[in-house]
Symmetry: C2
DNA sequence: AAAAGTATGTTGCGTTTGCAACAAAAAGGA
DNA sequence: TCCTTTTTGTTGCAAACGCAACATACTTTT
């Protein structure tokens, strides 16, 4: 458990001995869930900060008609529930189901925000880390949105690739996605994207091989 | 100034007299900017929490080639810079330019996160409010993303409208957008969207008049 | 009530896209 | 090295879409 927590951005900059102190001071609970059971139940559970320590889980939303939509997959090390906890909702609007036997660390956001009586200085760092995590997700979403806003596949590709070039300060760079993942990320059909990439290469806009790209200036 | 601040979600639940105390205790600065001057300069300014008190401004990003992209418009009451401040960046990656003479309140995130020496209890509320704001933006982005992920106009419309129905607990509801705004929000062409709405009405999927919609169950 | 302005709906056309099915190339395992 | 699996590229086709230009309906102003 400590291995996962020590590496987790939520506890960045916090030493091991302090971590244990914090966890007890925040009355965190480590809890196990059997495969198929619900870690959070939509419209019933009070939203908490969850860290999946082991196992796999899914975030699920059921609509009015009762059909379930999978919003996301969780694996060991993943943080979940933080958006709803930080929003201060009293009921969480999604469910989280254990797809394997799971071990979970649950933290109460209110305990996190209130400076504890023993003036534990790491609370401040913890809150700053949480803010950092939520803000970073925010920026990642904004970034993705700025690509997807473009209506054509070429527009999305150029927006994405030019951003990568800018962020690596180089016209040549490697992307972290394979074609399938990139197409998913940009919300387009893989084969159509492949076709467009081919066209762009033929037009001399760029060159690429697998994950290595080069933009022509 | 106090009128705007009192209504601002960042200071929700904080009384007027406490607000003034907080602002001084956080060493906030109220600053004026002439039209055309930069409130933040990309890659130079240290990111702060900004609240536009009066005037209008634009968030701008310049790419490698120097052409500027308008990321967003700001008007009185708007919060800006919070994402980058909360991420703990040392330089802000975008510029904010005053489009009119502007008055701005600037807050240092670090002062906000550190409990002040006089144990001002409202700091906690302030941080909770900030977390709430960032998390809420997060959820709004996620929501929009869940619509745009659909590849067809009809898919996006149904995702959006069904979500509205669910959130109002009714098949009949009013949307907050006109056609232009809705098309922009869903990243589709207005006329194509209008055409699709017409088709869906003819197929009996839904009915609508202006901003009033009804989904057929 | 008429005029001007804004919002919404309609339509034709060429392009882009998703989809499906297959081909080729690269990576990984035995 | 051979075989299997995965990844990437190709292509035909029908459907969906963006775009532009215009028509109609509703609002606001005077």
């Amino acid at each position: 458990m400590n291995k996962i927590l020590m590496k987790h951005p939520l506890f960045a900059g916090i030493a091991l001995q302090d971590l244990n102190h914090i966890l007890s001071c925040m009355e965190s609970r480590q809890q196990s869930f059997n495969e198929g059971s619900f870690i959070f139940l939509a419209d019933e559970s009070y939203p908490k900060l969850g860290i999946l320590l082991s196992g796999k889980a899914q975030v699920i939303k059921e609509n009015m008609f009762g059909d379930r939509m999978i919003i996301g997959a969780l694996e060991a090390g993943n943080l979940f529930g933080e958006t709803y906890a930080c929003m201060g909702l009293s009921k969480i609007p999604v469910s989280v189901e254990a797809m394997e036997d799971c071990s979970v660390l649950l933290l109460d956001i209110n305990r996190m925000l209130k400076t504890c009586s023993n003036a534990c200085t790491f609370h401040q760092r913890l809150v700053a880390n949480l803010l950092n995590i939520v803000a970073t997700k925010n920026m990642q979403l904004n970034r993705k949105m700025s690509y997807i806003t473009h209506k054509t596949i070429r527009g999305r590709l150029l927006a994405y690739l030019e951003d990568q070039a800018e962020r690596t300060n180089s016209d040549a760079f490697e992307i972290p996605f394979n074609r399938n993942e990139l197409a998913d990320y940009l919300c387009v059909d893989r084969s159509a994207m492949s076709r467009e990439l081919g066209r762009m290469k033929k037009e001399g806009l760029l060159d690429f091989s697998r994950k290595a790209f080069r933009l022509q200036v």
